[in-house]
Amino acid sequence: MKRSIPNQILLYVVLVVTAVIVLFPLYQAIITSLASEADVSNYPPKILPSAFRLQNFLDAMTTAPIPRYLLNSIIQASIVTTSHLILASLAAYAFAFIEFRFKQFFFLLFLSTMMIPWEATIIPNYMTIVNDLRLKDNFIGLTLPYLATAFGTFMLRQFFLSIPRDLYDAAVIDGCGRIRFLITIAVPLARPALGTLAVFSFLQTYNQYLWPLLVTNDQNMRTVQIGLALLQDQERFLWNVVMAGVVMILLPTFILFIVGNRQLIRGLTAGAVKG
């Protein structure tokens, strides 16, 4: 589709402006993380970096054990993401391809859990996990309430439903069992949805603050968002150190996004029903 030159230029201008607006907070965070305390209180704020103070990163790591927290967060988020991918695929497969009694009812039950605000479940979860099961300060306590996802089930079910019925029928005729169909055909086709779910689940778990705060006391088990809170002090807010912490914490999400993105694109160009 050929575009005329003025249209092309307009398009690029719009794209560049949007990119600048979206990227500016990130850019600001990075240059603040490299600035000195005096630079931060300059007004108007400088657009170009004024210093290159890597000491901020060291300060952030002495105030809060960021590397340890990063490790904990990555492990926690990985466990939850893996569980989401597995459980949601299985449940979505059942809802999409298998007929069973009360299927509609169970599906609505799943969906209804999405309408419960998380604030309402925090205290009952705490009571169960910490009081009854005595699971504080370990990864099980951190991840257990969040291992299943109604949202993921819903999204994958929608995707599975879009796989042509012919494909399923053809596979069944050829003697393909249910699990084999799921693993060899449905899941590879669902790569974009799975990639999206993985990124979404990882980020959601990575950003958790209150739940890890409640179930952990041990410095070695805490997660990254608590670390960020630890860097902030109401009376003496050191923006440059806080931003250094923020930049360090952003890195895993970037890496994840690059990986997840590849799955997304690969899935989009995957095979389909032929003929």
């Binding site: 005595r134 990864f139 002090d233």
Partner: protein
């Protein structure tokens, strides 16, 4: 297939290793030091100072080993404490902000500090009566003050000189502040480049201004003669505060940087406003930000008129340490030893110079490090002078009710309404008082009173 198996093994081993991580158990041992936990809400450099304090405590004796655990903000810390009460997943000592005093008393989880003081025959003679007064309910001291602050006026001496004002004499009354602000505001065409005065929309400031005006926030003498049943902050003094706020804002000389105190602080550091009120706890930060740029001045919190300076004063802010009674006695005793340690003159001097919170014991001022520090930075004494100049009465002891955090948030809404011109000061405060009275009634019912 092989890779899949490997993946499954890795996941399983992660889960197994997670199981194997032992949960740290705090229990007294028959032989060897007792361990106890201290939950606090200090982040940043203050948090490091707390960790340092605990290290020094542990090094100073062998009977107890304490661990300082950061629990987020004061609000997060209180929520976590409430959640852990049922299973006794609570520490022996917890730092809790002033507003939570009534809540903790009603939850009946405190082992009153008074009991430890009496048992140990600990002398409170050298301690600031005004500070202890806040945490004394019905004659009993419940918590030991830990980090105590006052709000005060910060001003930019260089800007004062440039505007022809005397940098050694900061304004003291609302009218004087307004006048000074008018002279200090600089405009560039239509846009203001430098505001004369600014204060964050923070409920604590309203409480302080009201108390120092000599008026009650709640009935029953701020809830201290008897349990509070209704809010009374919509009295003439409260209205006067918001009227003054609105007047300055309408005149274009009061800057509004929103609710987060950090934003107004940064505006002051960046010299966008010539004056502001803030806690003395941020003094250290203000000094480093001003270093090399301008000379920092501090003054008393403004009052409606000169006479009120003797009638009343500011309420102490900050937090105190409570010992919780549902932990084994050995841990509670260790917690008491820790509390005694933190209020000793040496540690108070360390805390004073490291933060800006002022000492709770007068003996701290005799410590050499403290003396040198205040000689170099006399601003550190302003809050203390303000404390000593204030009488210890029901105004300065502060309001006591279980819904203080919610009341504070409701006042912030009222302030915003007034500043944005949506209601008059009287209307906004009346509406807020009705809401807060209802909250108080619900709370009192919930604790069976």
């Amino acid at each position: 297939m092989k890779r899949k198996m490997l993946f499954v093994m890795v996941v399983l081993s992660l889960i197994v290793s997670a199981c194997a991580t032992p949960a740290p158990v705090v229990e007294p041992t028959a032989s060897g030091p007792s361990k106890f936990a201290f939950w606090h809400a200090m982040g940043g450099t203050n948090g490091e100072a707390v960790v340092e304090m605990m290290k020094r405590f542990n090094a100073s004796q062998t009977a107890c080993i304490g661990e300082a655990v950061f629990q987020g903000s004061y609000d997060d810390s209180l929520n976590k404490l409430k959640a852990g009460l049922q299973s006794k997943d609570i520490p022996a000592a917890v730092q809790m902000f002033d507003l939570a005093t009534q809540v903790l008393i009603d939850l009946q989880v405190i082992a009153p500090m008074q009991d430890f003081v009496d048992a140990d025959k600990f002398s409170l003679a050298d301690y600031e009566t005004n500070v202890l007064g806040y945490y004394t309910v019905n004659g009993k001291l419940y918590g030991m003050p830990f980090n105590t602050s006052n709000p005060m006026l910060y001003y930019n001496k260089d800007m004062f000189k440039a505007a022809g004002l005397d940098p050694a004499k900061p304004p003291r009354t609302y009218a004087e502040v307004l006048d000074a602000a008018k002279k200090l505001t600089k405009k560039d065409g239509d846009k203001v480049t430098q505001y004369g005065y600014s204060m964050a929309i923070y409920g604590w400031f309203f409480e302080q201004l009201l108390a120092s005006s000599g008026a009650y926030y709640l009935d029953n003498a701020n809830g201290r003669d008897a349990r509070a049943t209704k809010a009374t902050f919509n009295n003439p003094e409260g209205v006067a505060i918001l009227k003054w706020w609105k007047e300055g804002y309408d005149a274009g000389v009061f800057g509004n940087f929103g609710r987060p105190t950090a934003d107004t602080q940064k505006a002051f550091d960046a010299q966008q406003t010539a004056m502001m009120i803030e806690s003395t706890a941020g003094l250290r930060s203000r000094l480093s930000a001003a270093a090399g740029k301008f000379e920092l001045g501090t003054g008393f919190l403004p009052r409606p008129d000169e006479a009120t300076f003797t009638k009343s004063g500011t309420i102490i802010g900050g937090a105190s340490v409570y010992i919780l009674k549902d932990r084994p006695q050995a841990e509670q005793d260790c917690a008491w030893q820790f509390v005694k340690f933190t209020v000793s003159p040496d540690i108070q001097a360390y805390w004073h110079t490291a933060s800006g919170y002022y000492p709770v014991t007068k003996k701290a001022y005799d410590i050499a490090t403290d003396k040198e520090w205040v000689a170099k930075y006399p601003q550190f004494l302003t809050a203390v002078d303000q404390l000593h100049a204030a009488p210890n009465n029901r105004y300065t002891q502060g309001a006591l009710t279980g819904v203080m955090p919610a009341a504070r948030a409701r006042i912030e809404n009222a302030i915003e309404e007034v500043v944005l011109g949506k209601s008059t000061p009287q209307q906004a405060l009346d509406a807020a008082a009705t809401d807060v009275t209802k909250l108080i009634a619900d709370y009192n019912k919930s604790v069976g009173k």
